[in-house]
Symmetry: C4
Subunit: 257 residues, 4 copies
């Protein structure tokens, strides 16, 4: 395998889908939120992405079965009050090399644009490194109009205190260059554990903005389950990615060459 | 040399060969086991693989002769009670760069599939970091059926406590995506020395599963010999690869970009 | 995105333009100087460069809007006493990978040569690591004739005490191989803060050499403004690049593969 | 610049030239020896190699003139008692990335093979890390015959105590795969300074083996001169390469990915 590939499992047509990205990151916040939507609304997997820029390894699940590193695309049709279509991207890893991240994010945008997606939500966590009383939601966006929209939903702008490293940032930046619009939502979390509270705060904003209807009751339960299902290897993976999403000011030179 | 290449030394045909991989790793367990099969059953080398992702160096043997970094393919015909064909992969290194590992493993799978291989055994060691009284064998597999099969042979599933980094994991993961089935067998070893006992435990399971017949008497002797033959450079190489096969939980960011 | 691209925003023709490069570096000296010229003389942006060798991230501005990593080309027509044309290159990052730096600098030279540029100024800072009483200007050049020219303008040759790492060095070196001539000007700075004094010293030499006329009065003000506008992420970025421009003698192995 | 290139400066024909490589390494031993041959026998530069895998920088010479990173090919015609032709490769750097080293060495071999070269000498230093009373010469070779030849010239085989990292090793290993024969000669040196004595010991063996006639009187003088001419940047470069040529047993993971 010399290049990133996307295997399409089901040929579908979608109508101007909203694209939601939640690859692994700080405190599993985005992933937990997206997995919850996928399960509760029974989203359907229709494509898988594999890349030589993923870690050269496999995970082993609780049964002892090997699981390749991959990203997975799900779709939802006529969902929520607005009856919109959605593409949701989750996975067990992100690209790790400099050029790999750009290649993968470019392919993801090509792929979802092919289905008519013009709007992006990227989901993640913002690590505080200390206990969080009530998780707030931070954000950034591709336009002033969307910034105002975020503020109306109680999101705090992450203005002037940091960049966004990894797929959540790149997808917005590269999307913006193609005329796509998008927002980044981060649930505040101490980090370093599966944080259902941060995911709940994040989901509340996302559901309000998209008018998706998802029962949040089982979120805590899912967090517990996720905790059990996630092998140590995945936690290792997780920590690795968290380090790539360091808060600014911390030293991180890992993506240099 | 810009790309990985395979030089075929002998044109052969094989009938649905079983593919056994044992590139350098923890405690030389897999390599020792595979070298023993190759020598005892007089397997024949028929191809060599060279890659720009191998370390940019050569080894020097005991006579002072330079030896390029490479992987080597051997075959066996009508071997064991089942009279099966085999392809066995050994070598003095693994690919070291992120993308290199994927490129090399993809080429290896293309190559053995070309001979009709659909079943894979990957061999390695599981480092305990402390003395091992009686070496157990750990494993993982590409399907529930194979997991059950492994358990029947006394193999302990490595469930939920770790991923598999390097060629042994990638070949299974990438093979699974092509519909190939496979298992990973790890001999328990303290690590950091040539461990004949771990290789013996591993071989006992492998021979039982494949019905290959190999005399294990000279294994201890071979371990001693290997110890002498292996230059410090190879040990350096070995340590490097061991670090790439770290147990989960230990910090290893070396394959990041 | 697999390769560096240049998006041309405006089709222009220029007459033998002088090419000035001031990508981020030590103490923001070069960038501050070039931004000042661009603003005071109302240079016009006509092209943007994006690269998969830039950090895989976006910046967030003070409003909360994401800003992709990029380099930007501006032009000036009939500027200064000599009525010369200019191309000025600024940006929020440099390429970070080994091969990326070469690819990007090669593309930049191809691009400006296409407009007829044959002469290069690269601007940067020279970090002293301690307070600077009166900022001096250091330099290097592609020919003895230019070295003499620099000396006549009071520039101190950086002879025999160091190399030039990053775009400022590579553009001169690769340009020289194409028969382009160029000089490197470095304003002396303690480093690690936005240094208006170093930028002023640098600009005084540059304006003298090019006969450009730029009011330097607002430079201090601009430095203050820049300080405020630069997010922590950009500072992080900045520090990263500064480390790539280490003074010789300091240990820096970061660009090793 | 996306790929390694060789610029031919003079079209020449050579008759079965012997290829001598002496890129920067431990204690400048090989480089000093090769530079001495080039100057004393007035070898002529006929080609230059540039690579995106070289460090992204330029050096600055004592006059303040920038010097690109490059390797340089010289030739000698009808030299020594045997009236043989020679190609000598020197330079101010080696490739630094994993894949870059393989690409560059492959191109070098293609290039010299095009002139009919079938025999290689690679020159370097062997760092002892402590004072050396009388510099010995260590070696390795591509065949048993050459090993015997080396022993007859008093060279000590480096058997079983180490690999050869970098161009000197790769050129022999990759050359051997093409049926070229070669030897590696290392002058024993404390390392970390320009070592004329190690270069003299090395040259004595090389001259004996090739029957080249070179006056060694000015070697000490040249070492002094080299010391002065080499900028701190080059020393930095030198140290970097030395670390890539570490003695086995020392930890060096820098060429991983």
């Amino acid at each position: 395998m010399r290049e990133t590939i996307i295997n399409v499992l089901e040929d579908i047509e979608l109508s101007s889908p909203i694209f939601i990205e939640a690859l692994p990151g700080i405190g599993h916040v985005g992933k937990l939120a997206a997995d919850h939507i996928i399960d509760e609304l029974k989203a359907v997997k229709f494509a898988e992405l594999y890349s030589p820029s993923f870690p050269p390894q496999v995970l082993v699940d609780e049964d002892g079965i090997v699981e390749p590193m991959r990203n997975e695309f799900y779709y939802l049709r006529d969902a929520g009050e607005d009856e919109r279509d959605y593409i949701i991207l989750v996975g067990n890893t992100q690209g790790l090399s400099l050029e790999g991240q750009y290649e993968i994010c470019g392919m993801i945008l090509d792929f979802v644009e092919g289905y008519g997606a013009r709007r992006i939500f990227t989901l993640g966590g913002l690590a505080t490194g200390q206990p969080v009383e009530k998780a707030r939601v931070y954000g950034a966006a591709t336009s002033m109009e969307l910034v105002e929209d975020l503020k109306e939903h109680g999101v705090i702008m992450r203005s002037a205190d940091g960049g966004i490293i990894g797929a959540s940032g790149l997808l917005l930046g590269m999307g913006r260059l193609r005329g796509m619009e998008g927002v980044y939502l981060m649930g505040e979390t101490p980090g370093y554990f599966i944080d259902a509270e941060a995911a709940r705060a994040l989901l509340e904003v996302l559901l309000e903005m998209t008018k998706l209807e998802v029962d949040l009751e089982k979120l805590e339960e899912r967090a517990e389950e996720t905790k059990k299902m996630i092998s140590k290897a995945q936690q290792m993976e997780q920590e690795m990615i968290e380090r790539m999403n360091l808060k600014p000011g911390e030293e991180d030179l890992r993506y240099i060459g």
